[in-house]
Each structure stands twice: as C-alpha cells, then as structure tokens.
C-alpha cells in the first residue's frame, strides 16, 4: 500500500503557558513519497518535533490538514481516526527508553498491540518477531527492561512501536545520548527497515554525520517553516543556505573544506563520508 504523507498549508500551535501559545508550524506544505529516508534538521525550536507530532496526531493542525494514505488529520479529527493514524505512523519519542514501564520486556512490547485489540497469543508472537527485528535475542523477553543496557533499552522501546506494524516510522533524535556502538546499532536497524521493509523513515537529528551517513533526503526547518527539502548532497553544496541556517557540516566535508583552504582550490566533488573523501583524495593525487 502506498502511504504518501501530504501536508497542506499546515499551521499548528502549542501551549507555552496558561495564556500563551507559540506557533510551532507555519504554513507547511510538503509531500513525502513512500519509502523515503529523511533527516529533519534545524535549530532548537525550529519545529522539527512538531512536524513529527502532527504526522502522528499528537499535535493537531490549527489550520490546513495532513493526509496520510486516505486518512486526514485536521483540527477536529475524531479520536478513532487518530488511533488508526497512530497505528500506521509509528512514533519514537526522544529517549523512548524512559517510557518503558512493564515488569518484563514481553509485556512492554505487547502493550501497544493489545491496545489495538490484537489477541494475547498473537501479540506475544509479535513481541518475539520485533525483538528479533531490532537485533535482540528472545532470552530477554522475561527480563525487566530496567536491567538492560542503554542501547538495548532503546531498541526494546523501538520494538514496542514496531509491534504495531506501522508503515511509516518517525523518530525524534533516535541516537542521542548513546555511545558510538549503540548509535550505530540504531541506525543499522533504521536502514534495514527502510531497505528491506520499504518503511518510510523520518528522523530528527542535530548531528550532520548522521545525515551524511544514513539519510537520503533532508528537510531543513526554521521558525516553523520548511526551508529546504531535497537530496542531502544538494543541501551541503548550497553553502549559502548552510551558513544562513547555521548548519554544521559532516566531519568529512568539514575536513575537506579545511583542506581546500590549505591547497587553495576545491576538490572535484563534495564528500559527505570518509569513504568518499578517501577516494576523492586518492583520485586527485593527494594521497
């Protein structure tokens, strides 16, 4: 089934005080094709998390609507439709492991499916399946989630969302706070879900190395607006935009720019990963 995500002039606010509202999204129009792997970047408060939340119906548009595979999210969408949306669009919040609560891993993963009326036996099967999918062994099903390591906990939390069998997965800073191994495991998982299951994946990040390594396309946000949506190479080629948005560069490109300054001329093409950089350096005769 094709699950395109369409934003039609979406404006959304969130409450910041008893009397105050802040504009979170400002006239966002966007069409995301099925199967894309997108990184969302922008400064703190640019509206990145809000963009994810509107896709999942946690934040309802004040104006405009979001259409996801025939379902519409607008300011008075009923709870039933929202519940259906949430099954199709799985959302992983920041530090999702802090939301684990059941006495064992199996019960925690089953929580979602059971809420959607999946029979217990079926839910348990799903728990096994998703645990395997996130790369953890079935032995931990009976363990308390609190006894696991940081990276494992996060993968269990993601398994809890995957057990809903969503077609779109949106994640708020999935790698933050993990050590390099833990981070790598999470992104390996996302890449696998995208390539093998054709899942559309959107993730928020501040780390341009994650953009360079794992995303195909990038959404850049500022003050609740989408400023850029396109290929990652096009974004990093656009030095003006990078500067205007105060965006960082991936390590490889940062190194490349320093090197170009030293040699006084540009390398033949821009490099986002160390592999690309190594090849270009060799090709151009610098190593």
């Amino acid at each position: 089934m094709v699950m395109e995500i369409q934003f039609h002039n979406v404006t959304a606010d969130y409450k910041t005080g008893p009397l105050k509202k802040t504009r979170a999204l400002n006239d966002v129009t966007l069409s995301i094709p099925s199967g894309d792997m997108i990184a969302i970047v922008g400064q703190t408060g640019a509206g990145k998390s809000s963009l994810l939340k509107t896709m999942n119906g946690l934040l309802l548009p004040a104006e405009g609507f979001v259409a996801i595979g025939g379902m519409k999210i607008h300011h008075q969408t009923d709870k039933l439709t929202l519940k259906r949306v949430r099954k199709k669009v799985g959302m992983v919040l920041q530090f999702p492991e802090s939301q684990l609560f059941a006495e064992n891993v199996e019960k925690d993963i089953c929580f979602g499916p059971l809420n959607y009326g999946v029979p217990l036996a079926e839910a348990r099967k799903l728990a096994r399946k998703t645990l395997q999918l996130v790369g953890l062994s079935a032995d931990i099903l009976s363990k308390s989630p609190f006894s696991l390591s940081g990276g494992e906990k996060r993968r269990v939390a993601i398994a809890g969302i995957l057990a809903l069998e969503p077609e779109i997965l949106v994640l708020d800073e999935p790698g933050v706070g993990l050590d390099p191994e833990g981070k790598e495991e999470i992104f390996q998982l996302l890449t696998k879900l995208n390539r093998e299951k054709g899942m559309t994946i959107l993730f928020v990040t501040h780390d341009m190395n994650e953009v360079a390594r794992y995303a195909e396309n990038v959404i850049v946000m500022q003050n609740g607006r989408v400023i850029f949506y396109g290929k990652k190479h096009d974004l990093f080629l656009n030095q003006e935009l990078i500067q205007m948005m105060h965006l960082d560069l991936p390590d490889a490109l940062r190194f490349q720019r320093l090197f170009e300054k030293k040699i006084g001329k540009p390398l033949p093409k821009i490099c986002l990963t160390e592999e690309e950089l190594a090849d270009v350096l060799i090709e151009a005769g610098y190593a």
């Binding site: 400064q43 703190t44 390591s149 940081g150 990276g151 933050v176 706070g177 050590d179 390099p180 191994e181 833990g182 790598e184 501040h206 780390d207 341009m208 190395n209 960082d248 390590d251 490889a252 190194f255 320093l258 090197f259 030293k262 040699i263 160390e274 592999e275 950089l277 190594a278 090849d279 350096l281 060799i282 005769g285 610098y286 190593a287």
Partner: protein, 275 residues
C-alpha cells in the same frame, strides 16, 4: 610527585558486596596540576563508577583517593568540594535555580559568600562562558549547548582547582560540542585548572594531555592520544584517525602514527608536492 592534584591508589569497588565480580579493581593513577586527563572505555568498563568515586558520591571498598594530598573521606569531603566542580551527563536534570544567575550562584550560597562577592563571581563566570545576556532567563528554555555553558559557569564561579566532566558533552550536537571544547581549552590554558573528562567521545579525549583506557574495571592503557588512538576500535577512533586508516586500507602509504586533523592536512598537502 609534588604536583599531583589527584592521586588514586589501589582503588577497588563493587556494588553488590556479596558478589565476586568487582566493578573496579586495584586502580592506581595520578593526575598532575594543570593536566587534562580523559578516562575512556566502553559501556560497563566502570568509568561512571570511577566518576562517582572521584566526586565522593560513592565510597571505595579498598584504596584511597588523595586530592591535593588529602585523603577523600567524610571529614575532608566538604572542604574538597569547594575546590572541585563536577558536571554530569544530562543538562536538563541539573538546574536548581529558576534563573540562569540563580543557578550559577547556588554553590556560592552554599559557601556562604557575601552578596557582593557572589554578584562579582556570577557576573564574571557568565561572561567567561558567553552567557551574560541570558542571566535572567529560565534555564529550561535554553538550547543544549547553552545549558552546558550555564553548568560550566556554575562551576567556574566557585573558582575551582579541579573539574570533573562525567559524560558532560555526549548529549550535545557536534557543533555545540566543538564550541564547548574550545572553551575548555581556554579554561585550561592558565595551567591552574586540572580537568578530568570521563567520556566515550574520542574527539573530546583527543584534546586531553593523557588518556586512561578502562576495560572491565582495570586500566588497560595510559598514554598520550598519539599512543592510545592507533589501538582503538574503528567506531571509537576520532575522524582523522579513521581517515588515515581508510587511506592505508586503500593501499596508500601514510605515517604509522596518530595524526590530528591539522597534522593530516599538512601531511596530505606536502605529499602533493613530493609527487
């Protein structure tokens, strides 16, 4: 040895006293005045336990930590804490004050300093970290990097001799991290401040004078970044080291030693001339 600010002697610790397996066993090392030391290691290597021991939140089962020659114990701890600042991992969970300046002043209030002295120190610390214009703001509305700057100001206001960073920068994006590292470099330049970074970020460790690698509760290596980095796994190596290894893998001949980014750029540039 007169310059030793931190001396760890034969330190052992286990959480569960009935268990055989120790989290740390017979650790010994010294940190000299003005030195920046990084303690690195994978998850479960015992580095966060070591951090908690160093700031006196845990008590060792065996061995002693000496701070400026004094053993760290119940009698000396409060006196030592006036000279030692600690910054923990999660910036959101560390604010006590409701405004930036109130939070920076917290340690000073505990030291029972007079009001004018506190004003002076808060002012200077906030300027030093570049947060003076935010003094009236609620810290919870700041960005991650700004929150960290406020925590550092809170420590600098104490005019400490030692600062311990316990995974203090791992939650930040690379850009704010690099900006903070240059602040740290500035702070260290005076030669009066001794710093200990507990981290899994090798870019942070690369800035230190020496690195201690912990593995399963034991020190597996102590040395300068140049001595330690060539032996780390791929994921843990800093960028310049990864690139160097990759070029060698692709059949290029590069020096068989760790190079900083500047050194590597220099080398590649010169290589261009010689060929």
């Amino acid at each position: 040895m007169g310059d030793a600010v931190i001396e760890v002697k034969d330190l052992s610790f286990r959480y569960n006293k009935s268990e055989e397996k120790a989290v740390l066993s017979s650790l010994s090392f010294t940190v000299n005045k003005g030195e920046w030391i990084a303690i690195v290691g994978p998850n479960g290597s015992g580095k966060s336990t070591l951090a908690n021991l160093l700031c006196g939140l845990l008590k060792p089962d065996q061995g002693t930590i000496y701070i400026k020659g004094k053993p760290l114990n119940d009698e000396t701890i409060w006196e030592i804490r006036e000279k030692m600042g600690v910054i923990f991992q999660n910036p959101d969970h560390q604010f006590i004050g409701t405004t930036v300046q109130d939070d920076v002043a917290f340690s000073l209030e505990n030291m029972n300093l007079p009001y004018e002295e506190m004003q002076r120190r808060v002012d200077r610390a906030l300027r030093q970290v570049g947060m003076a214009e935010y003094r009236e703001k609620d810290p919870s509305y700041l960005s991650g990097g700004q929150k960290r700057r406020v925590s550092i100001a809170g420590i600098l206001a104490m005019e400490p001799e030692i600062i311990i960073f316990d995974e203090a920068f791992t939650m930040l994006d690379p850009k704010s991290r690099r900006e903070l590292f240059s602040l740290l470099k500035e702070m260290q330049a005076s030669g009066q401040l001794t710093m200990v970074s507990i981290t899994h970020d090798m870019e942070e460790a690369a800035l230190a004078d020496r690195i201690i690698v912990l593995n399963k509760g034991k020190i597996s290596r102590i040395g300068t970044p140049g001595e330690v980095f060539p032996e780390t796994t791929e994921l843990l190596a800093p960028f310049s080291e990864r690139l160097r290894r990759l070029l060698i893998q692709k059949g290029r001949r590069l020096p068989d030693k760790y190079m900083t980014e500047t050194e590597l750029i220099e080398w590649l540039w010169k290589y261009n001339f010689t060929t």
